[in-house]
């Protein structure tokens, strides 16, 4: 019969313990990586939102960028569901797609910001232009109406004088 000595049993225990520690470490590191990746993508979505919100705060609009950001958020939601189903690979793939889209949104923000600024300036200018145009048009209309009234008064007076003259004759 083959009996294990106490030292060999201890060595075996040590090996098993080491193996368990290595497995736990690998699993926890990969889980942390998945979690931190997910956290990074969510943080990126906040950054993208912040930059688009700045455009809206300045009076501009960027519906295309909002639509892209929402697509990325839908991808993140799908990744969340895949992760719940245990499909970590599918989840990571979706998160990577979402991250790419979010980076694209962030890259497009400066151009949208510029366009929004131009839109705001042209809108403000066209609104400001309404002030003198309305003032001039309404004043002119009033002047024409007043002149017509004065002319009518004068004509009436003239007619009165003719009638008076005819009566005198």
């Amino acid at each position: 019969m083959n009996y294990a000595t106490p030292s060999s049993t201890r060595r075996l225990h040590l090996r098993v313990a080491l193996l368990v520690i290595v497995i736990v470490l690998v699993v926890s590191i990969s889980a942390t990586q998945v979690n931190s990746q997910s956290g990074d993508t969510v943080a990126l979505s906040y950054q993208a939102y912040g930059e688009i919100a700045a455009i809206y705060r300045s009076g501009g609009r960027a519906p295309d960028l909002v639509a892209k950001l929402n697509t990325a958020l839908e991808m993140l939601h799908s990744a969340q569901l895949k992760s719940a189903e245990g499909d970590d690979q599918g989840a990571t793939a979706l998160e990577n797609q979402a991250r790419t889209l979010l980076n694209q949104v962030i890259a497009e923000v400066p151009l949208a910001q510029q366009q929004a600024k131009q839109e705001v300036v042209s809108q403000t200018l066209s609104l400001l232009l309404i002030i003198p145009v309305t003032a001039i048009v309404s004043t002119l209309a009033f002047y024409v109406a007043l002149s017509t009234f004065r002319w009518y008064e004068k004509m009436k007076l003239f007619e009165l004088r003719i009638v008076e003259k005819d009566a005198e004759d």
Binding site: Y46, N70, T134, T139, W151
Partner: protein
């Protein structure tokens, strides 16, 4: 044209000044609209898109495998673009819920969340179809151990209730606060703490499929 008299010239000047002031005021109001009180609103509708028929045959005793269709509506009236998150939680009657007066959310971890960026005055409808896939009984308590939401199955020991009574789905509305750079559950409006959440109660009294 007639020669304009000094008196008429005075009238014309008055009209010019008056129209300039009036138009300027209107333009100022258009360019600087008065801020209104901002708020979020959330509703849950039943299977017909109305605030009724939340459960099959209007029976809140949900059976294993029964599909329940709700629609969660979120409305943004904050006057700005908002990043909103609807956090879905599963609770029992003794689980701490959100506190509306202090604006504190429920400490129970969420099952899943839905995220979207909403423009001002935009409404978002989220289809929410759920099925209790599995429930286990231990003595007098029934635990929900499998639930499918929008065709995704979640497994785990989510919540336990005595005799399977008074479970609730809690929907909390969170939004991204750019000042604190964090998701926030409540906001201050005219000195009052406001938060938006909604919940629907149900029972799972049987652990077998009907």
């Amino acid at each position: 044209m007639l020669k304009i008299s000094t008196r008429d010239l005075r009238y014309v000047a008055i009209v010019a000044i008056f129209t300039t002031i009036l138009t300027s005021s209107i333009v100022y109001v258009i360019l600087n609209p008065q801020p209104t009180e901002g708020f979020f609103a959330m509703d849950i509708l039943g299977q017909n898109g109305l605030a009724e028929h939340y459960f099959p045959a209007d029976d809140p005793n949900v059976t294993i495998g029964a599909s329940i269709n709700w629609s969660i509506g979120v409305y943004n009236h904050m006057g700005s673009l908002e990043y909103v998150v609807v956090s879905v939680k599963l609770l029992n009657s003794s689980s701490p819920g959100p506190d509306g007066t202090t604006g504190t959310p429920s400490p129970i971890p969420q099952l899943l969340d839905f995220r979207k960026v909403l423009a001002d005055n935009e409404t978002w409808n989220i289809p929410f179809t759920w099925i209790i896939e599995n429930a286990t009984q231990k003595g007098n308590s029934i635990s929900i151990t499998g639930i499918s939401i929008n065709q995704t199955e979640f497994k785990g020991n989510f919540v336990t209730a005595v005799s399977g009574y008074n479970y609730r789905f809690l929907f909390e509305l969170w939004f991204y606060d750019q000042d604190t750079q964090n998701l926030t559950f409540s906001w201050n409006s005219m000195g009052i703490q406001r938060s938006v959440w909604n919940q629907l109660w149900f029972n799972v009294t049987s652990t077998s499929t009907k």
